[in-house]
């Protein structure tokens, strides 16, 4: 079976213990941080398992190439201390089960865009940026066949991921893709970080959505008219699994003439959208989530943002209305790119 080969010696030899020291949600000093990680690795209980808000941040902070967050999620499951209440776990686990028949398989034999569990967002992938690109998982009734399952890290259900993911990969492979452009970067993180981490084979080349957008924009450079908007970016948790691709945010903004205003909660220091925190078991989670959201949006406002650019649909669902009420327009990155090449994105008035 698939397993996470976590090397506790790396933690013991780690000078900074950045995984927890940098954590924005747990107050801990360096020595205790190292200690707690080792305890967790040994399967012992730790307050960290109860305090973790599952923001994925430690995956990025770890300088030793370990997978601290995957470890935390596994141990939360093993010790029976899920971060969210039981009914939410059950609901989420059932949510990912396909129940409306098998998907229609079309062989592509080339690059393909996988909408995964966001079939209903196909209005976002219109226009020149996506012309000629075959798309899979466009039927909302069948989309869970393409669902990367990584969401279950928030529910301490690594076992579900390991159980279902090989089948999902097999479904994608039936389309005979060469490259799979991942609409959602959680999928990208799954195939480039989680799968290698636990030993699941990925027989296609995953491509990050923003890298694809950047390359297409470069091809369509003549069409670009600088958008000249003051933007901030809401970095999603899953981006922590592919920090190397995070630079494309900046590259795209530069290419389309978006003015990325300076703010505190950016890049490594980004704040969680709060969607996953509000329902957690830890006392005060709802208020805590609201406080994080307020802090985040205040920071956007202070920076003078006109637009908040989203990567993850879940972040947009959680924060979109809130930023809009503060006069900042929520926009998907792809829509901003479409605007830059003179197209009118759906829903843009």
């Amino acid at each position: 079976m698939y397993a996470l080969p976590f090397d506790e010696n790396r933690c013991l030899n780690c000078q900074g213990a950045d995984c927890l020291v940098k954590c924005q949600y747990i107050e801990i000093d360096r020595d205790r941080a190292r200690e707690e990680m080792v305890r967790i690795a040994r399967g012992e209980d730790s307050p960290v398992l109860r305090e973790c808000v599952t923001c994925y941040g430690c995956e990025e902070y770890c300088p030793m190439g370990n997978h601290p967050f995957y470890l935390i999620a596994e141990k939360q499951e093993a010790l029976g201390i899920p971060p969210v209440p039981g009914p939410l776990v059950r609901r989420a686990v059932n949510l990912g089960l396909p129940f409306r028949g098998e998907p229609q398989i079309r062989e592509i034999n080339g690059p393909v865009l996988n909408m995964a569990a966001f079939s209903e967002l196909t209005p976002l992938i219109q226009g020149k940026l996506f012309e000629g690109l075959p798309v899979i998982s466009t039927d909302g009734r069948k989309m869970f066949h393409y669902f990367c399952q990584l969401m279950y890290l928030h529910y301490a259900k690594s076992s579900v991921i390991k159980e279902r993911l090989p089948g999902v990969i097999a479904t994608i492979m039936r389309h005979r893709p060469t490259e799979v452009i991942c609409f959602h970067d959680e999928c990208y993180g799954t195939y480039t970080s989680y799968c290698p981490g636990v030993g699941i084979d990925v027989p296609f080349t995953p491509v990050h959505f923003f890298e694809y957008l950047y390359n297409r924009l470069s091809e369509l450079k003549d069409l670009i008219r600088p958008v000249g908007l003051k933007v901030v970016y809401q970095r999603p948790c899953s981006s922590r699994l592919s920090p190397g691709k995070h630079r494309f945010v900046n590259k795209i903004f530069r290419l389309i003439g978006a003015d990325e205003v300076e703010r505190e909660f950016v890049d490594e220091n980004a704040l969680c959208c709060g969607g996953t925190i509000q329902g957690q078991r830890k006392e005060g989670s709802r208020k805590r989530s609201a406080a994080i959201q307020r802090k985040n949006i205040e920071d956007m406002k202070k920076a003078g943002a006109e637009i908040c650019v989203f990567n993850c649909p879940a972040c947009l669902q959680t924060l979109g209305g809130m930023v809009a009420r503060e006069g900042i327009r929520p926009v998907y990155m792809s829509d901003l790119c479409r605007l830059a090449i003179g197209e009118t994105p759906s829903g843009w008035r």
Partner: protein
């Protein structure tokens, strides 16, 4: 001597009277499982006077009169069981008055839920009414007449408790008014004159309400829905009790259903919260989710699913298309809240036995005094077997309601019989005498409460 048809044309006009097969066919149906029965005539009056004249004509001719509002009771209450004149009241759809200070609206009987919702939103955004969540064509009056509930029933009670006054055409054709309007005052209260509660719950057998005054309530600019979920149905009554105790919520509904499968076996709550300010919203949320329900979250027994701003009004219902078959019917039971776990388990069992994906819903009424528990059974209109199964399930559920100590809401004829069997003999006698006094010709919606 003029025929009944000609007489009806004389009362209304040629375009709003019919004895042709097309009209008789369409008006023969309830939208649920009830057997269709054709009327002899269909008439759509525009005024109270016309309603009076129709009723007088029916008395002369000894022919039944069946009043129809939105026709969405789903219990067959407006199926002309003995033929006669079907009176479609939807043309009487004027909103006569909205009184901002006194918070009430005076309406003709054909005003629909969506019409009033839209009218208030456009003209009196500070006021709202208790909307049932039925399709938008359901009428305010029809809903009140069957003791309906709405999204303000949790704090304020049944919609029939929210009536300030009535104008009724009696089965013999006279017009009566009830409430403050009866003494020539405005329609601002139903109290404190002698009580003559002769019309609600009678299934149109004691008269036709042509106008009514309904209470309105403050519409707060921030309205939305919070959601909570538990796995153990035994927890539902105590959670209802805890939320209602805060008095911070509007509508509170618990539900469980088989489709979509992720919710199967779980009990979801939707809690409507309204506020004038962010401060008020947060205060209410804190009292509900953190203080009242925090213990369930910490224990891991209950989960908060978030708060979504905006209230869908009128609600969009797709229930009828569950089986891609254009039909559903439900039994609504007015139940003690503590019966929720048994209602859920029995309902699920009945559904599964009849091969229908289960859908059960409990809406809290009056700060927890009761709930309307609905067992919904979808069917395919093109498949008689599924209709038969749904009808059987409905009858079993009618039995169940009484077994569990509840009262069948808007009972069809089957449920009416069950109730009459159990009815206190003194009450039954009184009802019989009232019916005889009011409707000596027995013309009003016969077949309902028959043999009382």
């Amino acid at each position: 001597m003029k025929s009944i048809y000609e007489a009806l044309v004389g009362i209304v006009d040629g375009e709003h009277v019919s004895d042709r097969p097309e009209e008789l066919y369409i008006y023969s149906f309830d939208l649920g499982t009830a057997q269709p029965q054709r009327p002899d005539y269909v008439v759509a009056p525009r005024t109270t006077q016309q309603v009076q004249d129709i009723v007088r004509l029916a008395n002369r001719e000894k022919i039944p009169v069946v009043p129809l509002g939105g026709g969405l009771s789903l219990a067959g209450l407006a199926v002309p069981l003995k033929g006669g004149i079907l009176v479609d009241l939807k043309r009487m759809d004027s909103i006569i008055e909205v009184n901002e200070k006194g918070r009430y609206a005076v309406l003709e009987c054909g005003v629909s839920q969506a019409q009033l919702t839209s009218y208030l939103a456009r003209n009196h955004p500070g006021l709202t009414h208790s909307e049932p969540g039925a399709p938008p064509t359901a009428t305010i009056t029809g809903n009140v007449m069957i003791h309906g509930q709405g999204d303000l029933s949790q704090p304020y009670g049944f919609n029939s408790d929210l009536v300030n006054g009535l104008e009724v055409v009696l089965p013999t054709g006279e017009v009566c008014r009830f409430g403050s309007c009866a003494i020539g005052a405005s329609w601002f209260t139903n109290h404190p004159l002698p009580d003559v509660g002769l019309f609600f719950g009678w299934c149109g057998t004691t008269g036709i309400v042509t106008r009514l005054s309904i209470r309105l309530y403050p519409a707060k600019p921030i309205r939305g829905v919070g959601q909570f979920v538990v796995e153990n149905e035994e927890l539902v009554p105590e959670i209802m009790e805890k939320i209602t105790r805060t008095q911070m919520a509007e509508d509170i509904i618990a539900y469980s259903r088989a489709i979509p499968p992720f919710g199967m076996g779980l009990q979801h709550f939707t809690v409507n919260i309204a506020a004038d300010s962010e401060k008020e919203l947060e205060f209410k949320q804190e009292l509900i989710w953190d203080d009242a329900l925090g213990e369930y979250i910490r224990r891991g027994d209950g989960g908060y699913l978030g708060f979504t701003r905006g209230l869908e009004r009128p609600q969009i219902s797709k229930t009828s298309d569950y089986k891609k078959g254009g039909g559903f019917e439900y039994v609504g039971g007015i139940m003690p809240i503590e019966t929720y776990p048994r209602c859920y388990r029995s309902g699920r069992e009945i559904s599964e036995r009849h091969g229908i994906p289960y859908t059960v819903t409990g809406r809290c009424i009056g700060v927890g005094h009761s709930m309307m528990f609905a067992w919904t059974y979808a069917f395919n209109r093109a498949d008689p077997e599924t209709i038969r199964q749904a009808r059987e399930a409905l009858h079993e559920t009618d039995d169940l309601v009484l077994e569990l100590g509840g009262v069948i809401w808007k009972p069809g004829t089957y449920g009416q019989r069950l109730i009459m069997e159990r009815l206190d003999p003194g009450t039954r006698t009184l009802m019989k005498r009232i019916k005889e006094v009011l409707d000596p010709g027995g013309i009003m919606n016969p077949g309902n409460w028959e043999g009382i």
